[in-house]
């Protein structure tokens, strides 16, 4: 297992290196250089321009520039944002990262789960109008013109029906006198989510070790206890209402992201499940007299999950793209919106920085998916 992980890690590093190099060439490929964007403003003194040139080594040979680029990358120095001067690109990005992470992680998990569940069901009850209509509506949602769709979601659910807020991630009236900043709350929320996930995971491992995993109510009880104690902790923290406000604002964007992206996972799961269902161990599981649900979930879906997890990386990139679109429509100032705004305001360092971060995020997710895969597939675990 260690060998496998090490190898994958090495591959991720190589990919990262390629990424850095690619980003360098992207910057090189544009007409002019960074400093020429500064010079758009005739009032900017030459010394500032020369400082920018020095920072990016624009006055040095290409090789040196590349090394400098590597160094800047390693030290998180993406330069200074033009539109948020004097904030550095890193500062701007770090401010937005928690918001994107909260939305994006939740949406990815939800849409993955939804897609997996539906795909499983589709394969299980193959054929007939259910399959065709599910496939076609899934594909339609997959290819629907996202910005318009997101807007229609707002129009219908937030404006006409009034069930959810009209975009944004919080209600200013609720937050006017909030004792903490939204980013702190996002931080706490992410922490809570991570803590619950880790505790649940450990609990499941423990239960499995004790051979108790099969008893349905135990995991459920652990989950309920985890969530309940988190809720109590939040309620007692005095900022629970703020978290609630954020959650309220998250529902619609997450629903939208899920709707536009579950189809990929769904169709993939269906195919994977169809292949799995032909395996002998599925017949064996049936022959063992296991209930259909156990055969479907514990054996077929569990094995069908493996290729789906591998392709999770694909859907991650897709979700990030969906995020760019969704964030702009839902007034959710995360990385996607940052990227778009940076491009539209010609803030190249910020745009590059955001892209690099989005790429890093995806790389990390890639690595996580790898680790997850190792956990899911014992054949790799014990290689």
């Amino acid at each position: 297992m260690a060998g496998y992980l090490l190898r994958r890690l090495l591959q991720v590093l190589v990919t990262l290196f390629l990424f850095v190099t690619l980003s360098f060439f992207l910057i090189q490929a544009q007409p002019g250089d960074y400093s020429s964007f500064y010079s758009l403003n005739p009032k900017l003194p030459p010394e500032v321009q020369s400082r920018v040139r020095a920072q990016f080594g624009l006055d040095r040979p290409l090789g040196e520039q590349y090394l400098l680029h590597l160094k800047n990358f390693a030290t998180g120095n993406f330069g200074v944002s033009f539109s948020h001067y004097p904030q550095s690109v890193l500062e701007v990005i770090l401010e937005r990262l928690p918001r994107t992470a909260a939305l994006f992680l939740t949406a990815t998990v939800v849409s993955f789960y939804a897609g997996f569940f539906l795909g499983k069901m589709l394969a299980w009850r193959r054929g007939g109008w259910v399959e065709y209509s599910a496939t076609i509506s899934g594909v339609a949602l997959f290819t629907v013109f996202t910005p318009w769709f997101a807007l229609m979601m707002i129009w219908l659910f937030a404006f006409k029906l009034g069930w959810f807020p009209l975009g944004k991630f919080l209600d200013p009236l609720v937050w006017r006198n909030a004792p903490v900043s939204a980013n702190q709350v996002f931080g706490y929320m992410l922490f809570t989510g991570a803590a619950i996930a880790v505790i649940l995971f450990l609990a499941m491992l423990l239960l499995a070790q004790l051979g108790l995993r099969r008893r349905g109510w135990l995991p459920a009880a652990v989950a309920i206890i985890c969530v309940a104690s988190a809720v109590i902790a939040w309620a007692g923290s005095g900022v629970g209402y703020l978290a609630l406000d954020i959650l309220k604002h998250m529902v619609l964007p997450i629903a939208t992201l899920t709707l536009i992206s579950f189809a990929g996972t769904m169709l993939l799961t269906r195919n994977s499940m169809l292949e799995t269902l032909r395996e002998d161990y599925i017949t064996a599981a049936r022959a063992k007299g296991l209930p259909e649900k156990v055969v479907r979930d514990r054996h077929a879906a569990r094995n069908a999950l493996l290729p789906v997890v591998t392709s999770l990386v694909f859907s991650l990139a897709f979700a990030v793209d969906g995020g760019v679109i969704t964030e702009s429509v839902f007034s959710w100032p995360g990385m996607g919106l940052t990227l778009l705004d940076a491009v539209l305001s010609e803030d190249l360092p910020l745009a590059m920085g955001a892209l690099v971060f989005v790429g890093l995020l995806a790389l990390v997710a890639h690595a996580v998916a790898d680790v997850l895969y190792v956990y899911l597939d014992p054949r790799i675990r014990y290689q």
Partner: protein, 321 residues
């Protein structure tokens, strides 16, 4: 129907022409069977039907412009509906789908954009398939460093969110339709498609006729071009479909954000409606959004559906019942 099977004449040191002729014959024969398997799947047939309808639209535009449509009124970019009192005008007999906020005929824009959507999709798809097939074949044939490099590159492209990358690229370079198609093609070609094609190429590489060809003294390029690449084409064709979907969708989104330099496209149509503030018009200005939006969704879906249906034909494991 034997798509991943080898043409038996691979053993024979046949001349390249006769080899290809035989391939064409075989392909024709198998394509009939493929079509039968394909046609059994209503999803794929629906997809093909939609594509054909759009194909007709694309053909119709220049014909209509040459005959029925007077350019001053119906040019998709510079036309202007003088006959309407105000714009955007609702559908009428002169403007079957109404006009946009700038007084231009929506139907004309819709059909004109169909051509560019096809051009975009096909250029991107051809580039993708060209690159992916070569990269896949090379990586599979040579393995080692070549393989490692291309696969890591593919990894990178797979994990990079395309739209985000394109947004940045447009900022850096400023893309027009053709350049966008090239970029999308290159991204697709070095990305996910290359990985799939490579694994297919690997399975071909170990087939006995490759060994036979090697023993017969075939050089690497001969083997790649004559023996491996042709066998990758069915799978490549499949991935062409998915590339088309991605390309059309990306163009629409980028145009919607207003960062492409394109005169007319479905994305631009929605962008025009959006900048005019008609996006929320709902039913009252439906002709500004629904035709273009539906066109994007339908054409994207149809290529995707055809791809999926082909997948079930090409990939026998999925062929059910």
């Amino acid at each position: 129907m034997n798509h991943d099977g080898r043409p038996p004449e691979g053993f024979a040191p046949a001349g390249r022409t006769s080899l290809w002729a035989a391939r064409v014959r075989l392909a024709l024969r198998s394509s009939r069977e493929t079509w039968r398997a394909f046609a059994a799947n209503p999803i794929g047939v629906v997809g093909v039907a939609i594509i054909l309808i759009f194909g007709l639209m694309a053909v119709a535009h220049p014909l209509l412009m040459a005959t029925l449509w007077d350019p001053t009124t119906y040019d998709p970019v510079t036309g202007f509906g003088f006959d309407e009192i105000s714009h955007p005008a609702p559908p009428s007999w002169r403007h079957l789908l109404g006009t946009d906020p700038l007084g231009r005929d929506i139907l004309s824009q819709l059909t004109a954009s169909t051509t560019s959507a096809f051009v975009l999709g096909l250029v991107a798809a051809l580039v993708t398939v060209g690159i992916a097939t070569m990269v896949g074949a090379l990586a599979a044939y040579y393995g080692g460093v070549v393989d490692a490099f291309f696969m890591r590159l593919a990894d990178l492209i797979i994990i990079l969110p395309t739209i985000s990358l394109l947004i940045v690229l447009t900022a850096l370079l400023g893309l027009n339709l053709f350049q966008l198609a090239l970029v999308l093609g290159v991204l697709g070609g070095f990305g996910g498609t290359a990985v799939v094609i490579k694994s297919q190429a690997l399975s071909i590489k170990v087939k006995p006729y490759i060994e036979a060809a090697q023993l017969a003294g075939g050089g690497p390029w001969h083997i790649i071009l004559v023996h491996i690449v042709p066998n990758l084409l069915p799978l490549s064709l499949l991935y062409m479909m998915f590339t088309v979907t991605g390309a059309i969708f990306s163009e629409a989104v980028l145009s919607f954000f207003g960062i492409l330099h394109i005169r007319m496209s479905w994305g631009i149509m929605i962008h025009t409606a959006s900048t005019g503030g008609y996006l929320l018009g709902g039913a009252s200005y439906w002709w500004l959004i629904v035709p273009a939006g539906a066109a994007i969704t339908l054409l994207c879906s149809s290529f995707y559906l055809v791809g999926r249906a082909l997948d079930e034909v090409v990939n026998p494991r999925l062929r059910g019942r």
